[in-house]
Symmetry: C2
Subunit: 331 residues, 2 copies
DNA sequence: TTGAAAGCGATACCAC
DNA sequence: GTGGTATCGCTTTCAA
């Protein structure tokens, strides 16, 4: 069974390929009657348009390149779904690539995207690299960043409102009477770590809490490293009654450090996380945490991209997605 | 800055586009000297090949269509990474689409893939639909299924060795002296539920255990529904000393049902899961479960697909990925 | 409203 | 080893 092309249909319909194209794309300049006839024939022949050919001529690929650092990280999957749903609704298809957080691979991926003439990009670059930033900023293709922000460049971005999220969490702890709150931070290299930690100290100050009694510690971001960090923090600062954690994963790590000593959550130490991953409801006790609307973040990013692709100016440049404190039992 | 094309490079190099193409693709039939000169010029001009044009002429898109039911499900993300890594290594790019488990969307996605001339497909179709199966089986494009198997069709597939996995789990429980083991199954509609349940009864019989004392119950697959199911099972069958669960998620649901009554895991009731998701190490007590090599599954699927795309016959048709019992503290 | 012709950017194929 | 030309399947453009 040979491939059905416009020409084939044209021959059968007794018109030219041109006319068939007009009919199929509902582009007007054609009589209703002819169009109906052509559509019928096309359907009968089980025609599937060749988007490669179409792209070549029209310069529109209807492809969106999405680069994520590591598909497995729970967070990305939800965001991805938001992106994909929105893309699908608007007739775009997703090209997904996993950078593995490797510089060389990120570069190669961007080239491949370009090579396939993607019309837009959604990127979650891993670390900040001036070279990569310049490359991205110089791209002729519209682009939206997720969870990242390049100061000094006009690249639209979407991220959770980290500051507000932390503020909500701290307010909750303070309301419950905590005054000695430890902060278990994530990876030192991450910009988000800095943002959240700054928001933490800021919120504490606003609440009139003495930061002297509120130690902070960093870890590598993994659950195990968090256990170790929390253990150390609690040993060195026994006065602490609550832990604010950079992420849910880190909170889970802290759980272990707390519970191994027979201490109770939240009785002895209260814990608050950040992200609201699925497991937050599953652990024991269920984790009080700051919810990030991941799916909506993805959708929002794609919507911004569509706007940018339509040539509209993105105003404001950054979308800070609203967070929500989900109070469960750990604090 | 206009687009750099072969022709441009050719003009500058004083050769034809044809020759440039040969040089860039290292296709031979060209002198080392000319090739070097052309490559240099191409690089200077910052040439990026147009894969759309190349695809059109060569009939090779270097695109692989991947359809998943729901990108958010933790499992898929790992598999996806395996697929993507392998694809990347072999010069292929992933088109990702999320079917949302909707029939119509699955059909639309397959058409879009075809329209983009994907050279291969990796599908994780949601439910069994005879129509979809026939469509897939009739596709001119090589295809590999993940976690699904269509009896009576010659479609290669990859899935965990469910039977062996369950057998390992049951053997472990029996070794620890359990004789009254309950089975908390997943969604009734899922083929995997049947497979695992059959494997369960089979293993029990082999171990010489009386199935009469070993009740089974189904749930909707969610954590909450599992809590309810486990609660019911334990109430109606107080003799049970261990629960074999269809998945880790279901095991977590069972945890709640067990612990809410003040019962201890594994002291009062032992629990074994299936999947080995990240949280298995995080919950308390850490979950003993059957590990599925998800990343490898993805890689294997892609490798099979590459073979199929190369025209090789896939023998055997199905790859059953080796499972491994990970003994932690819940059983 | 329709047709004819050109061309998107690359590769295949055949000459030389 | 290199060049010329046709062509992939479609859309654009202009003419009728």
């Amino acid at each position: 069974m040979a491939k059905v092309t416009l020409k084939e249909i044209a021959r059968r319909a007794g018109v030219t390929a041109n006319t068939v194209s007009r009919a199929l794309n509902n582009r007007g300049g054609i009589s209703k009657e002819t169009q109906r006839r052509i559509l019928k024939i096309a359907h009968e022949m089980n025609y599937i348009p060749d988007r490669i050919a179409s792209s070549l001529r029209s310069m529109k690929s209807n492809l969106i390149g999405v680069m994520v650092p590591n598909v497995s990280t729970a967070n990305w999957a939800d965001i991805l779904r938001g992106v994909e749903d929105c893309a699908y609704e608007n007739g775009f298809q997703i090209l997904l690539s996993n950078s593995q957080e490797e510089r060389a691979r990120e570069k190669a991926i961007l080239e491949q995207f370009r090579s396939l003439r993607v019309q837009g990009l959604i990127l979650m670059p891993s670390f900040e690299s001036q070279e990569l930033i310049r490359t991205i900023a110089g791209l002729p293709t519209p682009c939206v960043l997720i969870n990242r922000r390049y100061m000094g460049y006009e690249i639209p971005f979407v991220m959770p409102d980290n500051v507000h999220g932390i503020r909500q969490a701290v307010a909750h702890l303070v309301n419950r009477g905590h005054e000695r709150i430890g902060f278990v931070n994530g990876h030192p290299g991450s910009m988000t770590s800095q943002i959240r930690y700054n928001a933490f100290t800021e919120s504490m100050r606003e609440s009139g809490i003495d930061l002297a009694g509120c130690p902070a510690i960093m870890c590598k971001g993994s659950c195990a490293s968090a256990t170790e960090a929390a253990r150390k923090l609690l040993e060195e600062h026994p006065q602490v009654t609550a832990l604010m954690c950079f992420s849910d994963l880190i909170a889970f790590g802290a759980y272990k450090a707390i519970q191994e000593g027979g201490r109770k959550i939240p009785g002895d130490i209260a814990v608050v996380g950040f992200d609201d991953v699925d497991l937050a409801t599953i652990v024991s006790p269920p984790l009080t945490t700051v919810h990030i609307p991941r799916y909506d973040m993805g959708k929002t990013a794609m919507r911004m991209l569509l706007k940018a692709m339509a040539g509209e100016k993105i105003e404001p440049l950054g979308q800070f997605m609203e967070t929500r404190l989900v109070v469960r039992e750990s604090a």
